[in-house]
Subunit: 405 residues, 2 copies
């Protein structure tokens, strides 16, 4: 993740035109729980949402907002501590009220404000606390306040997740920055995961949506912590257009350059989320090569990184390739069962589907590092795909057995 | 599970014509690891196997055996401690050698012997130990030896899993008995799970296969422990025909009666397996009603019972219906998102997708019992389906982080 950090570090307000802040409003006991991001002008915006059939009220409201505004918004308000999900009509009313209050506070239109919530499901928002909290929000264009935003969106996360990248477009620079939250319930197709990306690129909302979808498919949709998926996930990007570069058009070099930067930001955030899976001690990175298609490679990578037995083996620093091969075979994807190679860290452990001698001590030591790389060669084509996850630990059970109590 | 026990208890050798035994051959350090079941005459046999693409050598050999013998066999030999999976050509040679040795020991044909293995993947069988062990096997028609069989097939199981049922067919009785092993890696479509069923019903192999498939779909295929699936699973049934009843023909009352008994046996074994999931403290039983179809109900039930967050919540005695609804919505099955009722134990916790007041203390107390029942009414049709699983505990992580070492 260090490959994306810069000096001075890029924050959510590094792209020109953005202000941010985060405060403690009282939805959580002590930690910050309310965050606001504002753009100085109308920004192009695009978002992708959870595929869960139960979509929380804020998701419904933000979808409606982006439609009503044709993808041109000024701000996004986020609360943590309460997901406003499964809260029926009252929840929807509350979500609209939260949006209206933020708009009034900023002196802008209601449909220029996106909202997001994360936290416990099925409890009504404490509206008095929340609405009073909104009045405390004074977004600033400084990195410390961007840090406060990143903090205020967290739930069981062990730390903030931020990243950014800058690239030259002609004589000037375009910056893309992002923050995210998410640790449990992380799964392909997004789950209890929020991501907010800012950029000063000049791009229309429709094309921004295409770029975002492509970036999310290559990043957030390839992480899994525990296979569950949530009611509240969203990745939202706002483009201020303040970089003074040419407008990015589809199919151009500028588009590819921008999409690469956006994908880099999303991938870095996705890995930070996977690494911070509840109770996790290690990032697991599974790379599948030699598949019939990229799709097959991606599905197998996800199956392996999502296997509870693989996850516990990694926690136990046990180079148990048997569980890896079992996970590969559990998919219905086309494979040649006699030709699979598996490498854990630096050690080839399976060759042509038969175990080979390897240094178990070294393999075990490597599995104690910050990233455990598993490489699977199906020797059956040219398709490749990656997925990211984390180990399954005592602490995962502990955190999730006592989340509400 | 008590509803199927009888006095005197039914064992694998209660159906007429069967002998069994189990010994310590030395594949495991101390516990029994080699088991043999023999029928006095050629029995009708049928089996279903893991859907994992990597099928262990014994699975391949038993498939070939049942084909070659047209479903007429005399014996099944099972070892635990070593799965003989991912062992290449040598593994297949060893599996055939193990079959040949058992046949010679019993004085029968090689293709009258089915085999099964369970345990660590990717290590060659210690053939000297195994072949010497086979000579120690002296099957007897007594319950104690049937118990030894049930013991010898275990791996991380905390106890034997046996059941049986007897029903009247005219003036006489038909008995169906079963044993199983399995605790980790248990998932729909069977996984590291072995089941052996004996009966003295008179039935042809083809029809026995139809009945077995139907029974397994309604039982073993609806349990899940950790979503992984193994290379070695098999459920095999042998019918001695020694009950002196009429031959069971398709579509008759006798067939339905037999299939019900077989399904009862399989369901009881499946629940025992789910209850004994690695580290589990509780059986979770999810019943979905009011679905558009039975298939939808079954898929949703499995998704809920397989959710790591639901499983940890049950371990924490936390009536966290939010995780249940999130799991319901994570499927792509047709549901009306505004009409879902959820009941945990005796407590209705969600009505029409909105939380209702319930007694959290009582709900928590009920979740500490031996079986936690979750009932989901989709209010959207007449389809019903059930799935069985267990909670996710510290001990699951402990067992699986240190299985090999």
């Amino acid at each position: 993740m260090t490959d994306l950090t810069m000096s001075p570090p890029v924050s959510l307000v590094s792209p020109k035109g953005f202000h941010a802040t985060g405060v403690h409003a009282g939805l959580k006991r002590k930690r910050k729980d309310l965050a606001l991001l504002v753009c100085e002008q109308l920004a192009s915006a695009a978002a992708v949402y959870t595929t869960n059939q139960f979509q929380a009220a804020p998701i419904q409201v933000t979808k409606q907002t982006l439609q009503a505004s044709n993808g041109k918004i000024r701000a996004v308000l986020v609360n943590s501590g309460n997901a406003n999900a499964c809260t029926g009509d009252q929840g929807l009313t509350d979500a609209y009220a939260m949006r209206a209050k933020a708009a009034a506070h900023l002196g802008i239109e209601a449909d220029e404000v996106a909202i997001a919530s994360t936290g416990v499901i099925g409890q009504l928002l404490p509206m008095d606390t929340l609405l009073a909290g909104i009045e405390l929000l004074t977004p600033e264009p400084d990195a410390a306040q961007a840090g406060a935003f990143a903090e205020a969106i967290l739930t069981t996360d062990t730390g903030v997740k931020t990243t950014g990248v800058r690239y030259a477009d002609g004589d000037t620079f375009v910056t893309v920055a992002g923050v995210a939250k998410g640790s449990g319930m992380i799964h392909p197709n997004m789950a209890t995961m929020l991501g907010f990306v800012t950029t000063d690129a000049v791009i229309a909302p429709e094309l921004l949506h295409v770029a975002l979808k492509q970036s999310v498919d290559a990043s957030f949709n390839n992480i899994t912590v525990d296979g569950d998926s949530s009611t509240n996930d969203m990745v939202l990007v706002m483009a201020s257009g303040a970089s003074d570069t040419e407008e990015i058009k589809a199919g151009t070099d500028a588009y590819h350059q921008f999409t690469k930067a956006l994908t880099d930001v999303c991938t870095d955030l996705a890995k930070q989320i996977a690494r911070d899976g509840e109770g996790a001690t290690t990032l697991i990175e599974v790379n599948v090569v030699g598949a019939k298609t990229d799709e097959t490679a991606r599905i197998i990578a996800k199956q392996v990184v999502g296997s509870s037995l693989v996850k516990t083996a990694v926690y136990g620093k046990d180079a148990n390739w048997g569980r890896i091969i079992a996970a590969v075979g559990a998919t219905k994807e086309p494979i040649d069962v006699g030709r699979v190679d598996i490498q854990i860290g630096s050690q080839l452990v399976l060759s042509k589907s038969v175990p080979v001698w390897f240094d178990e001590t070294l393999a075990s030591a490597e599995m104690g590092q910050d990233v455990v790389a598993i490489r699977i060669d199906l020797n059956d084509g040219t398709g490749t795909g990656s997925a990211y996850g984390c180990d399954l630990t005592y602490d995962y059970v502990k955190i999730n057995a006592s989340y509400r109590t």
